[in-house]
Symmetry: C2
């Protein structure tokens, strides 16, 4: 949770004057978001409520047109997500307090702390809709955290890895090698959210009300997005894999977009890759805490446990699907 | 800025169900408040927007009925401030996530980073209205940070004081002695806000729209509240005292509640006391940072400078008032 950049009333008034949203009658820094500074705005016009994001150092300014363009594209195709608001000059991305900044529509809904079966199913269907809606999005952004980037990331943490768990460096090295050698290259690709953790998915009355935080979205293997969600949604706090939730998520996904046989077979490997990706970034943030970060690093070992789970299963049947 | 206690969707749903405010359709942790955890709620009923506070360790639970009762009392007498919402069982103070918690109405307005003359005048009039409205509030709460408490507070920091500024311990000791000997005992008393800094006062279109954060409110000398505001509103960032702002604040105050001659004469001493009070708490928080605090300690020397200013003036005329 974070507000890295404080915005003064005068700066905000001047900024908001460029939009057709009325005057700012209240704004509050929001204690969420690891990468950016966020404010809720109440205004005297438009929707009366908006969300303002100032993009901090960890987000590349060059990627912002992709993220904002994608939200607008998806929102135009029926996906519930924040819609960037264009200023009167036409721009959705402007500068505030020395940072790139955007106002987006406010999305109702709450993120669920402990997802239940219906949430996993809702997410599954929603993710499939998102994948279909992203087809034909004209901009491209390669995944900056996929298999090719894992080894350099690993090497930065390798020396410290064994301080987190004995033998971790060796285990990760072997895992990396296997994933690099067998990473699937010909599965269906498209726009993936790439960070659809429970805190980035909203529900109202246990029904999915939208996705937020598209700042890892990219072009990649669609089934890899599913693998990320299997890891983020289907393990219980005690580490147990909940196959009922996985089955519910995958079945709901397939009511919208059926998986190919190749996608199903690849799921265990994709899930290992996804587990490794979050393990590596968490390991890095654990070993090299960011100066001035307002967020505690997350435990990397949670994802080591998940990685091992997927390595030990015999096939995608372990996720409750019929292949 | 802080959210010390994370509230899950399930806990919040169960909590909100006790109120006539509809269902929670969104909630966001707010990055403000040094002492407590705060959330903005959007709901499907009532006002549609509320403010939820969970009271953390630094606020004494025994004081909460006073604070909430005061807000309700003042709101009922035309003071714009958050109004505690009573649950269906009648209680305004309940438990959430193991903490005392209250829902209050949402107050529009923004706090001004750099108060201008009209803000100081608006505050002056607003403070006088607050003082008048507080008359007859039936509950009592002595000021826990007044002249009697300053020496014990000083003694906890005395050993470290000279690490902040050479000779500081001696200077504070002498100042304390003088204030203890001459602290006014017979000025008009009543309810004071005691923390009406610019971040606790809201404006809309440069007119005061309300007061928030009553968690230092207490019974004390009314003019002491003015002295706090002189220090908090009338010094420029470079340390200069802006007598025009002080004159505007005091004149506006007196249009609502004229000061007695004794109050005017006492202002320099009260302003020294107020400066010392914030100096001492800041000094303490600087020397003994709170474990897990999400807020940076504030510079104690800002208030040493203010203290010296008030000690060096010849009388209340320095504040731009005719005595």
């Amino acid at each position: 949770m974070a507000v890295y950049t404080e915005v003064s009333d005068e700066e905000l008034d001047a900024f908001a004057a460029g939009y057709d949203i009325g005057e700012v009658i209240s704004y509050k820094g929001v204690a969420e978001g690891v990468e950016n500074s966020n404010y809720m705005l109440r205004t005297s016009g438009g929707d009366g409520i908006y969300f303002l994001t100032l993009y901090e150092k960890r987000v590349s300014p060059a990627d912002l047109p992709f993220f904002l363009g994608l939200m607008e594209f998806l929102a135009g195709r029926g996906i519930s997500c924040p819609l960037p608001v264009h200023a009167r000059d036409g721009a959705a991305l402007r500068m505030l307090a020395g940072r790139p900044a955007a106002i987006v529509t406010f999305l109702d809904g709450v993120s669920v702390r402990r997802p239940r079966l219906q949430h996993c199913a809702g997410l599954g269907a929603g993710l499939a809709h998102l994948h279909l809606a992203g087809v034909n999005f004209p901009m491209q952004r390669p995944n900056a955290l996929s298999v090719k980037q894992w080894r350099p990331l690993f090497l930065r943490s390798a020396a410290g890895a064994d301080t987190i768990a004995a033998g971790l460096a060796g285990e990760l090295d072997a895992e990396l090698q296997e994933l690099e050698n067998h990473w699937p290259q010909s599965l269906p690709t498209g726009i993936i959210h790439a960070d659809a953790f429970p805190d980035n998915v909203f529900f109202l009355h246990d029904r999915l009300s939208g996705f937020i935080d598209f700042y890892f979205a990219c072009n990649d293997t669609l089934a890899y997005d599913i693998a990320i969600c299997l890891n983020a949604w289907c393990f219980e706090p005690d580490g147990a894999f909940n196959v009922t939730k996985a089955r519910g998520m995958l079945a709901a996904y397939q009511t919208v977009r059926p998986l190919t046989a190749a996608e199903m077979s690849a799921l265990p490997l994709l899930a290992r890759g996804s587990a490794l990706r979050f393990l590596l970034t968490r390991l890095h943030d654990w070993l090299f805490p960011i100066e001035g970060a307002l967020v505690k690093p997350k435990d990397p070992l949670e994802y080591l446990h998940k990685l091992r789970f997927h390595r030990d299963i015999t096939g995608p049947g372990a996720y409750g699907i019929d292949t």
